[in-house]
Amino acid sequence: MRLLNRSAGRLSRHRRGKVAGLVLLLLGLVLSGSLYAALSPATAENTDTTAAEVEKGRELFLVGCAFCHGENGEGVSTLNGNQIGPSLVGVGAAAVDFQVGTGRMPMSQPGAQAPRKDVVYNQEEIDQLAAFVASLGPGPAIPTEADYSTADLTEEEREAAIVRGGQIFLTNCTACHNFDGSGGAMPRGGYAPTIRGVDAKHIYEAMLTGPQQMPNFANGNITPEMKRDVIAYLEATEEQPSYGGFGLGALGPVSEGMFAWLLGIGSLVGFAIWIAAHTTRSKKEKVEA
């Protein structure tokens, strides 16, 4: 090495050790090689998958969704103008991931409410359906874990997020979903479902896309950071022990009154009947003193 570098005189390279140049060269070769190996085929594979996913999604869509939403997701209307299924152009992948991922779609029957039920498709199929619907028109994409996860917040940031999220939740969500997130009644037989125990991803997607009757809280309305704050608040309420006793669904006088009337008064009546029905009697006569 010293022979090779004689002409270089006192260049700084001398002080880095004898094999530094070689190592650097090797490292550069390995890095560019592996980067190429990692990136370029992967991109090719990705585009392949997307095209294939859309096609597979279209096949699934034609079987499971087209009856109500139309063969191209354009929506189907009845003669008197009622919708059998709304147009899916522009609802985006997030809407599909929410609706199918929570089992709301495919609906088992038309009605006032699309209830949450067992999920019919697996995640791969849901992704394919989402890719197909996303190809119909631009719409919100499926949020990534970085959007809704509160795991990487510091303790202080989390506290601040919970406070902010609580205020946003109480302003925008409690009207329908109850201050505790346990849901509530809506007009014409519908209801706002409980959001306790719902995946953070699905809560995020619901705000983003406004499923069924729910209004949107798109990113221009409630910023992604505020959405994550709401999720942090909801996670905090679920971890919050109920110091005051059983919450009974946080439905206030409805469930508490039911409890008092049915269980409280009911057990008193039962006790009274038991008292009246059971009195031990003796066969002996009383001996007057």
Binding site: R164, Q167, I168, T171, N172, A175, C176, G184, M186, P187, G190, G210, Q212, Q213, M214, P215, N216, F217, A218, N219, G220, N221, M226, P241, S242, Y243, G244, G245, F246, I275, T279, T280, R281, S282, K283, K284, E285, K286, V287
Partner: protein, 349 residues
């Protein structure tokens, strides 16, 4: 009705079926066995004693278990102190009740008793004497004979109502014009409730719902609004009058009211959030029907049709706030509400 005189004793009647009388009384073990009686006595005393212990336990639990706001002691997912207090107080009351019932069932007399019925009215003489005394009193007071005294008394009692009516005035002067206006002013920005950020018209999507307030309630040196309108009771009053809901729908789904054709911006509409029935804040919004439902009494407003009342007890549509955008693209109010917000009042007509 029987033809017999009801005052005659019952034995005089010939009954078709003989009165079977009462079965011989069956005694309880505690009546015939002194040991059982002692045992029952001890049981009752033990129940009362346990009740007293529970009451003492309540006091102990109150002081011994940490029930504070900072990380109180827990029993599973529930507060330990709350459970202990509830259970012990419940036991203290319940054990007294059970003890009394045990006492009554085991020890108090339980022989069947026959009690004859008697007429409930007083005797004829008492009733006559009372009426006579009343008539004599009326006669002596001369209330029938002296209309001057009677009428002046009635007048004096009637006049007593006046002071209380006049005192009602002290409840405060009603500022009728103030009910009809809010701090919304031309050019004032609409901001999001709680966070106070202005709303860009282009940021809203069809189906969006924003709960909003006027920017004047979030005063900063930059926007230059006076701080006193957003402080203390004034803040509460202003909040209750200026709260709004902003929704965006497809422009062709809007049926604009007469003279309101230019009150919306690209399908963005803004209405008072305060129900016109009794003033509850409303934000239960259905994006598909554009209906806004009040949770208090189910008044329903169609926001696509000038907030027309489609159901419920509200008598008026929600006041609409005319919208515009400023040069930066943020939503601003064109003017104050053109009608009073909130519930109706007499002077509104």
């Amino acid at each position: 009705m029987s033809a017999h005189d009801p005052n005659l004793p019952a034995q005089a009647e010939q009954e078709p079926i003989a009165d079977p009388g009462l079965e011989p009384h069956q005694w309880r073990p505690t009546d015939v066995d002194p040991k059982a009686e002692k045992r029952a006595e001890r049981q009752v005393a033990a129940l009362f004693g346990l009740s007293a212990l529970s009451a003492i336990g309540f006091v102990v639990a109150y002081f011994a278990i940490d029930g504070g706001t900072e990380n109180p002691t827990r029993f599973g997912y529930l507060g330990a102190q709350n459970i202990a207090l509830g259970v012990l107080l419940g036991l203290a009351l319940l054990l007294i009740g059970i003890g009394i019932i045990q006492w009554a069932r085991k020890l108090m007399g339980d022989q069947e008793i026959v009690e004859m019925r008697h007429p409930a009215a007083s005797s004829e003489e008492d009733r006559e004497a009372t009426l006579a005394a009343l008539a004599q009193g009326l006669e002596e007071s001369g209330i029938g004979r002296r209309p001057l005294v009677r009428n002046s008394l009635l007048g004096a009692v009637g006049m007593l109502a006046l002071p209380s009516v006049v005192l009602l005035r002290d409840l405060g002067k009603i500022d009728i014009p103030a009910l009809a206006r809010t701090i919304w002013a031309p050019g004032m920005r609409l901001v999001r409730d709680v966070v106070g950020t202005p709303i860009k018209a282009s940021d809203l999507e069809v189906g969006d719902l924003v709960n909003g307030l006027p920017e004047a309630l979030f005063p900063t040196p930059e926007n230059g609004y006076p701080a006193e309108e957003a402080h203390g009771s004034k803040l509460q009053v202003n909040k209750s009058k200026t709260a709004i809901v902003i929704v965006r729908m497809e422009p062709d789904e809007i049926i604009p009211g007469p003279g309101r054709e230019d009150w919306s911006v690209d399908g963005i509409l803004c209405y008072s959030k305060i129900c016109t029935h009794v003033g509850c804040p409303i934000s239960l919004y259905e994006r598909t029907t554009h209906h806004l439902l009040c949770p208090c009494h189910q008044s329903t407003f169609d926001l696509g049709d000038s907030a027309r009342v489609v159901f419920g007890p509200a008598a008026r549509p929600l006041p609409q706030l005319p919208l515009d955008v400023d040069e930066e693209g943020y939503l601003i109010a064109r003017s104050d509400f053109t009608e009073p917000v909130g519930p109706s009042y007499w002077e509104r007509g």
